[in-house]
C-alpha cells in the first residue's frame, strides 16, 4: 500500500522533459496491449520541489490540514508508516530517490468477456536509480516476511533462457519477479513475468526505437506528465459493444452513438501534471476518418477561438461559458441524447415548448442567431442581498434586418414569459409582482419587482446590451456589462469552460452562509438548517486551500484535451 501512496504522491510532481530515458526503458518491456497502463515518472525532482514549496509549509496550518493532522487516523497512519520505514531500514526520501524516483509502471488487462477473474493480467515495473538500494530493500522485506512466516520458499525458474523467481507464500499463493536490464518486474501471475522476458528479448533498444507506449503518450500530449493512465480502447471494444446490445430502449440511441465515437478512439489518457498548481485531465486521440460526421467538429475539429469566458467578471464566484450557437447545441444534444424512438426528440420538444413564445415560424431564426458566445455565472450579492446574483449573457449573431427581427422576437418572447410568471405568481399570492421598465443610457431594462415577496435585492431582469441578451437576478450586472475582450482566454489556445473562485466563494459563504441556509429551509428545499449550515461551512473551509479551479478544453491534432486546473492558495513550486 505504501507504494500506492508513493505513486499517488509522485503523480503530482512535475517532470523535466529531458529526463525521459528511465521511462522509455521501463515502457520498452511493458505490455502494449494492456487495457490500462499507469506510468509515474521522475518523482525525485518533483518530490523535492513539492517538499520545499510554499504550499507544503502552509497547508498544515489550514483548517483542513489541521483536521487531517490531528485525526486519530492520521496518527495511526504516521505510526504504521514510521514502523514500516523503521523495519525496512529506509525512509521516504531514500525510497523515492533510489527506488521509485525514476519511473514506475503498472499494466493491467481485465479477463476477457466471460473469462475468470484469475485470467486478468497485471504487472508492476520499476526502474530504480540504484540497484543496490532496491536489492537491499528487497532483502529486508524478504527477511521480515521470512521471520513472520509470510514467505515459505523462493524458487529459481527459467523461461526462454531468462531467469525469474517464484516466491511461494502458501500452496496456492505465489508471486513472481525478475530483473531485466535496469528494470525490476513483479507480478502474482507467472505468465506476465514470462512475457516481460519475451518482450525484453524481442523489443529493440530504446536508442534505436521509441517504445510504442511512449509514442502514444507523445501523441496524446502527456509524455512529460508525472502521472499518466494510458487507456487502450481496443481492449474494451467488446465490452462497449456488449453495453450497446444490452441497453435499455431509452439508452440505446446514446450508447450506439457512444460506441460509434468509441470505435473512432485511437488512444486515451488520464493525466496529472503540476507546476505552481495541479492539472488533471483527459486526453483523447481519434482516427479522424472513423469519427461520425456530426461529431467531427467537436472531437477533431479545428481549434476553437472562443473568448466567452471573458464575459464573466474576474470576481465571479462560479460560472460556465461556451462558444457554440444555440442551434448547434440543440443539434448536438439531439444527436446524442437518450430517448425512445416513438417519442418526440429533443429538437421537436424544444420547438413545441418554446415555439409559441417566439412564434414557431421565427424560432429557427432565433435559435440560429443565439450565440456563439455565452456565459452564465454567479457573482457576489448586491447591496443588502444575501443571494448571489445570477447572470446569463448570450450573444446575438446575424446581420441587418435578420438580426433586428431576431432581437425583436427574442425580446417579445422573453417579455411574454416574464408576464406569464407575473400572472401565475400574482394569482396565488397576496403580495404582487410588477413588471417595471427603466432606461439607462439608451439601455432598456425590464424587471420583475416585488419588494415584499422577493428576497432582498432579488429583481429578475433582462435587457439587450451591446449585442448581447442579458438575463440576471439584479439590474446591476446588466448596467455594468462589458463586451468580452478580443484576446484569447489563454495564450496556448485553452478555452475556459468553467471557473470557480476560491476566495470569492469562501467570502460569500462566510458572510451569508447562515442566511442562505435559513432561506433554503424556508423555501422547503432542505429540512435540516444546521446540517446545511455545516455543509456550507465545510465547503468554505475547503476553499481556503484553493485560489481558483478552471475547466478548460484544448484542441489537439486529431483529438481534444479536457483539463481541470487547480490553482492552490499557495504555490506548489518554490
Amino acid at each position: 500500500m505504501y507504494c500506492f501512496i508513493l505513486i499517488a504522491v509522485l503523480a503530482f510532481f512535475p517532470i523535466d522533459a529531458a529526463e525521459t530515458r528511465p521511462r522509455d526503458e521501463l515502457l520498452r518491456v511493458a505490455p502494449t496491449d494492456a487495457a490500462v497502463v499507469v506510468v509515474v515518472q521522475n518523482a525525485r525532482e518533483h518530490f523535492r520541489l513539492l517538499k520545499e514549496s510554499p504550499f507544503a509549509a502552509w497547508a498544515p496550518s489550514t483548517a483542513v490540514g489541521r483536521r487531517i493532522l490531528q485525526s486519530s487516523e492520521f496518527k495511526q497512519l504516521r505510526d504504521s508508516a514510521a514502523m514500516i520505514f523503521r523495519e525496512l531500514k529506509t525512509g521516504p526520501e531514500a525510497l523515492i530517490d533510489d527506488v521509485v524516483g525514476d519511473a514506475f509502471a503498472f499494466a493491467f488487462s481485465p479477463p476477457p468477456t466471460g473469462g475468470r477473474p484469475k485470467d486478468e493480467r497485471a504487472i508492476i515495473l520499476i526502474r530504480p536509480r540504484s540497484m543496490a538500494a532496491i536489492n537491499s530493500l528487497l532483502d529486508r522485506v524478504n527477511e521480515l516476511q521470512r521471520n513472520s512466516g509470510e514467505l515459505k520458499s523462493l524458487i529459481r525458474k527459467e523461461h526462454s533462457d531468462g531467469i525469474y523467481f517464484e516466491r511461494r507464500k502458501s500452496e496456492s499463493s505465489s508471486e513472481f519477479y525478475c530483473f531485466r536490464g535496469n528494470v525490476f518486474a513483479f507480478s502474482s501471475s507467472e505468465i506476465d513475468i514470462q512475457n516481460v522476458i519475451d518482450r525484453d528479448r524481442a523489443a529493440p533498444a530504446v536508442a534505436d526505437n521509441t517504445p510504442l507506449l511512449v509514442q502514444r503518450m507523445k501523441q496524446l500530449g502527456v509524455a512529460n506528465a508525472p502521472g499518466v493512465v494510458l487507456i487502450n480502447p481496443r481492449v474494451l471494444d467488446a465490452e462497449v459493444k456488449a453495453r450497446v446490445n444490452a441497453a435499455k430502449p431509452d439508452e440505446k440511441h446514446f450508447l450506439t452513438r457512444f460506441a460509434d465515437a468509441w470505435a473512432a478512439l485511437d488512444a486515451a489518457a488520464i493525466y496529472a501534471n503540476l507546476d505552481t498548481g495541479v492539472e488533471v485531465g483527459v486526453s483523447l486521440r481519434f482516427i479522424p476518418e472513423r469519427v461520425p460526421v456530426d461529431l467531427k467538429k467537436w472531437l477533431v475539429g479545428p481549434e476553437r477561438s472562443g473568448n466567452s469566458a471573458s464575459l464573466m467578471p474576474a470576481d465571479a464566484l462560479i460560472g460556465i461559458a461556451g462558444h457554440i450557437r444555440a442551434i448547434e447545441l440543440i443539434d448536438l444534444v439531439s444527436s446524442i441524447a437518450p430517448g425512445e424512438p416513438d417519442k418526440p426528440g429533443v429538437k421537436e420538444s424544444i420547438t413545441d415548448a418554446i415555439g409559441p413564445f417566439f412564434g414557431r415560424d421565427k424560432l429557427a431564426d432565433i435559435l440560429n442567431s443565439l450565440g456563439p458566445n455565452w456565459a452564465v455565472w454567479a457573482e457576489a450579492p448586491v447591496k443588502e442581498a444575501f443571494l448571489p446574483t445570477i447572470v446569463a449573457a448570450i450573444e446575438i449573431g446575424g446581420e441587418g434586418e435578420d438580426r433586428t427581427q431576431a432581437e425583436r422576437s427574442l425580446m417579445q418572447g422573453i417579455e411574454f414569459g416574464f408576464q406569464l410568471l407575473r400572472i401565475a405568481y400574482n394569482s396565488k399570492h397576496s403580495d404582487q409582482i410588477e413588471l417595471k421598465e427603466e432606461t439607462d443610457g439608451g439601455m432598456r431594462i425590464r424587471s420583475l419587482v416585488n419588494d415584499k415577496g422577493f428576497p432582498p435585492g432579488f429583481r429578475p431582469s433582462f435587457a439587450l446590451v451591446k449585442g448581447y441578451l442579458l438575463v440576471a437576478t439584479s439590474t446591476e450586472p446588466i448596467r455594468r456589462f462589458a463586451l468580452p475582450t478580443a484576446k484569447r482566454d489563454r495564450a496556448n489556445g485553452d478555452e475556459t469552460l468553467a471557473r470557480l473562485s476560491g476566495p470569492g466563494t469562501r467570502s460569500y459563504l462566510e458572510s451569508h452562509g447562515a442566511r442562505l441556509a435559513r432561506f433554503l429551509v424556508d423555501m422547503g428545499l432542505v429540512a435540516n438548517e444546521k446540517g446545511t449550515r455545516d455543509m456550507l461551512d465545510t465547503f468554505a473551509a475547503t476553499m481556503e486551500l484553493i485560489e481558483a479551479v478552471e475547466l478548460v478544453a484544448r484542441s489537439r491534432e486529431n483529438g481534444i484535451q479536457l483539463e481541470v486546473k487547480i490553482t492552490p492558495s499557495r504555490s506548489l513550486k518554490r
Binding site: R140, S148, S170, A337, D352
Partner: protein, 242 residues
Amino acid sequence: MNVSSDNSIPLLQEDCARSMDRLQRMLDGELPVSASDVDPHAASCRECRERIAAARVLLGELASRVYLILPAQLTESIVATVWEDRSSRIRRRTLTVVGASIIAVAASILFVIWLDRPGVPLGNAMAVGNGEEVASALPLAPEPRPARLSEELARVEQAVVESSRPIAEHVANASGILELFKGPLTLPVGPSPGFAPTRDALAELPNAARTGFEPVTSTTQKAVARLIREVGSVHMSTNPRQ
C-alpha cells in the same frame, strides 16, 4: 447487461468467500490457525481481517476452556453477515477506488511531508543461494510474532482512506451544494409539458454516459484494486540477479 458495478461483485465475492471458506475450515479444525496468516485477501480487506482476528480470539478461548459450545448456525451467521455487508462495502469500495487517487494524493502529500525525516542507511544485501530452490522450508513465525508488514501496510491503507475523510467530505459537500441550488433554478415556473422529452433526455444523459463509460471505469477500478492487492501485501523478495 449492466456489468460495471456488477463486474466488481464477483471479484469481491470470490475473495471474501475464499477467505470465509478458509476461516471456516480453520474453525472446523481442518486447517491450522496459521492458515489465516497467509491469506493475501486479508491484507486488503478490513472486514475479513477483523473476522479472522475475531476467529483467532475465539480459538484462543477454545484453547483455554474445557467446553465451549459454538452457537448454532455460526457459519450461516458469519456468511450472512458477509453478504449483508457486501453491498455497502462495494459502494464504499467503489467510492474509494474512484476517489482514492485524488483523495490519497492530497492526504499523502501531507503524510509524506510530515513523515519526512533523514532516511536510515539501507541494510546490506542478503546472500542468496544458486540452487533450484534458493530458500525453502522457512520457519513459521515464533510467538510472539514479529510485526507483519502486510498487516501494517493494510493499516496504512486504511488510515490513508480514513485520514483523508475531511477532504473527501468536502468534495462530497460540493456536489451536495450543487443539489441545493437545483431547486431554486427550476422553481419559478414548471416546465411546459411539451418540454418533457427534452427534460427527460437531459436528465437521463448523465446515466447513459455513465453506462457508456462503464467499461473504462470498471476496468480502472479493477486495475486499482489489483494494484492495491499486488503492492499491499509486500510482494517483493530477495534479489538473485541474472
